[in-house]
Structures are given as C-alpha cells and as structure tokens.
C-alpha cells in the first residue's frame, strides 16, 4: 500500500459515513413530515396555526430548530452527495446505464441526486424568506403564499419525493422490512402529506386577500 494511504487509513470512516447518511436522512424526513403537519394546522383555522407558532417561539424551539435543521441538511448534502460521480465520464456511464436498464430504482436514484441539489437551493431560499419575515404567523405566511405559491408547489413536490424515496432506500439498504410492501406504505404516506400540503396552500391562498 502507498505510504499516504497507510498514514490516512481509517477503517471506521466508511461505516460512520454510511451511518451519518442514514441518520441525517431520517432526521430530515421526520422533520419534513412534522413540519407539514404543523403547517397544515392552518386548515383548522389561523388561531390554531398562530397558537402553535407562538408556542414554538416562546420555548425557543424555532430558534434552535431552524439552524439545527439547516446544519443537518448541509451534512446530509455533503455525505449523501459523496455518491454522485463528479467526473463527466462516470456521469455519462450512469445515464447510459439507466436508459439501457429501464429499472425504476436506478432512475429514482438519479432523480434523488437531482432533487437533492434542487432542494439545497430551494430550502435555503425558503429559510431566508421565513427568517427575514419573522415571526411566522398566518398573515405573513398567507402573503408569502400569495406571491410565491409556485415556489412552494415545487418545493413541496421535490421535498416529498426526495424524502419518500430516500426513506425507502434506507429500508432497502438495511433490510428492516420487505421492499415491495414498504414502497407501498411510503407511497400512501406521501400522498397524505402532499394532500395536507396542498390543502394548507389552498387555505393560505383563500386567507391571502382577507389578511
């Protein structure tokens, strides 16, 4: 073995990276799903939404939660992103491979890489938007939704897709559940969460003019 390799040999590294990829991923999925549940409280009325939002403010949960999620997201991006080939030749091989194989799980991985990068940018914009319009209240949220509904629509779709496929992949890799049933369960959960998200968006748009 080459001396630079001997000196930097760390047999634990690959195990830890794999564990971190999984752990950060699961954190982000749980956050996203909880976040969508919280947002959809608007369906129950602006009072409920504002009450929840104030609760997070009073106990400083938002001030810890938002930066924490941003950091976890960044770690996830770097660690999961290590799998994406960075040279042109390998990228060409992957595309050609996927087109030829016509295999769902191979395609979903490619989309996973693309949506991951898109989410990095969109989620950053989203965090910037909410923090400059702090605090989060039904009225300010409705205004944002009025102006940027298309942005939230894209982020919702990409985020949900990435989260569900990512979680499916975790189950596949670690083999805790059989593949086909878990794929079905995750599809159902995704449909529910997306429906809640769309419902919330619709309510916000209705509120928008009144607020």
């Amino acid at each position: 073995m080459l001396s630079q390799r001997i000196l930097t040999k760390n047999p634990k590294a690959d195990a830890y990276l794999d564990a971190i990829e999984m752990a950060t991923g699961i954190c982000l999925v749980s956050f996203l799903w909880a976040h969508m549940l919280f947002v959809s409280t608007i369906i129950l009325g602006p009072e409920v939404f504002n009450g929840l939002s104030e609760f997070f403010d009073i106990y400083l949960l938002s001030y810890i939660g938002v930066p924490a999620i941003a950091i976890i997201g960044l770690i996830h991006f770097v660690v999961a992103g290590r799998r994406i080939p960075t040279n042109i030749r390998d990228q060409k091989i992957i595309w050609q491979h996927a087109k030829q194989l016509r295999h769902t799980d191979t395609w979903t991985w490619i989309f996973q890489a693309i949506t991951g990068m898109a989410i990095l940018v969109l989620a950053a914009l989203h965090i910037w938007a909410i923090s400059t319009g702090w605090p989060i209240r039904a009225e300010s949220a409705a205004e944002r939704m009025q102006a940027f509904w298309w942005f939230y629509l894209i982020l919702l779709a990409l985020g949900e897709y990435h989260a569900s496929i990512g979680l499916y992949r975790v189950f596949v890799k670690w083999g805790w559940f059989p593949r086909k049933p878990i794929f079905f369960v995750l599809k159902v959960v995704t449909v529910i969460i997306v429906a809640l998200g769309l419902g919330a968006m619709w309510v916000f748009l209705q509120l928008g003019g009144a607020a």
Partner: protein, 249 residues
C-alpha cells in the same frame, strides 16, 4: 401460429482489431418454437456469420457463462426464450467485465479476483482428519448457506449495478453475497473484525447505494437484498465498535 421473423441487433467489436470501430450488426432469423437466445445465436453463427463471438457451456443456466445484455437487461441467454421478447432483439456484452470480443466477456478473472479479495474459503484452525466422519450440520443452517451458494457467477448483478459500472474496486452483489455465505457458515471461524477487513468499506458493503438492480436481475433469483443488508448491518455494528490508533508523525 405464424412464425415471426426476428431481427437481432448485435454488438460487434474485436479488441484485437481496434481499427474497426464498434458497431451494431443486424441479422434476421425465423423464430422456431422453444427458441432461446442460445439457439438463435448458434443458428446465426452456423448459417449467417461464423465470425460472431459469444460464450456458452452448459446451455441450462448452470455454468453462468452465457450472460449478456438482452434488450437492455443483463440475463442468461440460454434461459431467455425468444417468445418472451419482441421481434426486435438487441444484444450487448456485459459491461464492467473485460471484453473478449462481440458478446464474449471474461468474467473469470473478475470472479477470481473477488474470491481472493473476500478469501472465499472456510477459515478454520481445525486439523482435517480424512478418516473421521463429516461433522453434522442442522438443516436450517445448511439451507441458509445454500441460498447465497446458488450463485453461478454469471455477472448479471455486477453488470446491472450502477456503482460497479463506475467503481472498478467495488465487490458488487456477487462479492458481498459470497461473504454472506461464509458469515453464515459455522465452520468459518473468522471474527467480525476479520470480515470487516474484507467488506467493511466503500469497496464492499458500504459502497452499495441500494438500487437493487442486482436483486431484480439475478437469473437465479437469489434474494440479494437480504444478503446485502445482512452483511451491511453486521459491518456497521462492527465499524461503530472499532478502535483505531493514529500513527504519530
């Protein structure tokens, strides 16, 4: 039943003659009943083109030498019936393995390297006594070992794997499955640390991205997902336990 005329588009390239660029050659053939790709290729070679290169030995899905990419998917040619395919059939050699010519690839060298890297033999300190009765093994364990052991080393899992296509050092499902076979075997005395040396890295268990093209394309239908996740879980548990010492410079 009216017989179809099949159109084969076959990859042609001879590494011995690099001046001729790779191309797809077309052959037309009358379909006959019970025709496999194995039968079709032999007919093409006998009647149309004696220069076509491809591999076969057992023609019964036992030896694993006839794997190729049929209409985009890696599988065994002798196990693939033409009646299950459309009239246009494309044949490509397996990727990842060294191309011998046209459809023939050298899987042997790859599998030998893999067997050496994974030390695919029972590691034991027991002295072998040729006169003693063989040790008994309970049926459940024997069955468990037999599952991964059904691998015919055709290379379809490796060819279908995106990671293996871009990482030459990746052991692939075949390699990790092989390790699983020895982990299950009570006669192999290797410790988790020793196995970790073999597959506890991105070249092994942690390199798999979980795309499962191996599992979906295995002609022997070995439950590769089960084997891969079994090894991955074991290796993670070991990796998190590991203590390393730094060399002081």
């Amino acid at each position: 039943m009216g017989n179809r005329t099949l159109t084969f588009k076959i990859f042609r390239y001879n590494p011995q003659k690099p001046e001729v660029k790779p191309y797809m050659q077309e052959y037309k053939l009358e379909e006959v009943s019970g025709m496999t790709i194995f039968v079709a290729l032999n007919k093409i070679r006998e009647e149309l083109d004696p220069s076509l290169m491809f591999d076969f030995v057992c023609r019964a899905a036992i030896c694993g030498s006839c794997a190729m990419v049929i209409n985009g998917r890696p599988t065994l040619a002798c196990k693939t019936l033409t009646k299950d395919l459309p009239a246009k059939i494309s044949l490509l050699p397996l990727p990842v393995f060294k191309l011998v010519g046209d459809l023939a690839v050298d899987t042997g060298t790859w599998f030998r390297d893999m067997a050496i890297k994974t030390e695919a033999w029972v590691h034991t300190t027991k002295e072998f006594d040729p006169t003693a009765l063989e040790e008994r093994m309970d049926n459940k364990t024997a069955q468990e070992i037999y599952e991964p052991d059904r691998c015919v080393e055709c290379g379809c899992c490796v060819a279908g794997c995106a990671t293996a296509n871009i990482r030459a050092d990746f052991l692939g499902a075949a390699g990790i499955n092989r390790v699983a076979r020895f982990m299950l075997d009570p006669r192999d005395e290797r410790s988790p640390e020793e196995y970790y040396e073999v597959v506890g890295a991105e070249e092994g268990a942690f390199g798999c991205m979980g795309l499962m093209a191996c599992d979906d394309n295995c002609p022997m239908e070995i439950p590769l997902q089960t084997q891969l996740s079994f090894v991955r879980r074991k290796m993670l548990a070991q990796g998190l336990k590991l203590k390393t010492e730094k060399v002081a410079l």
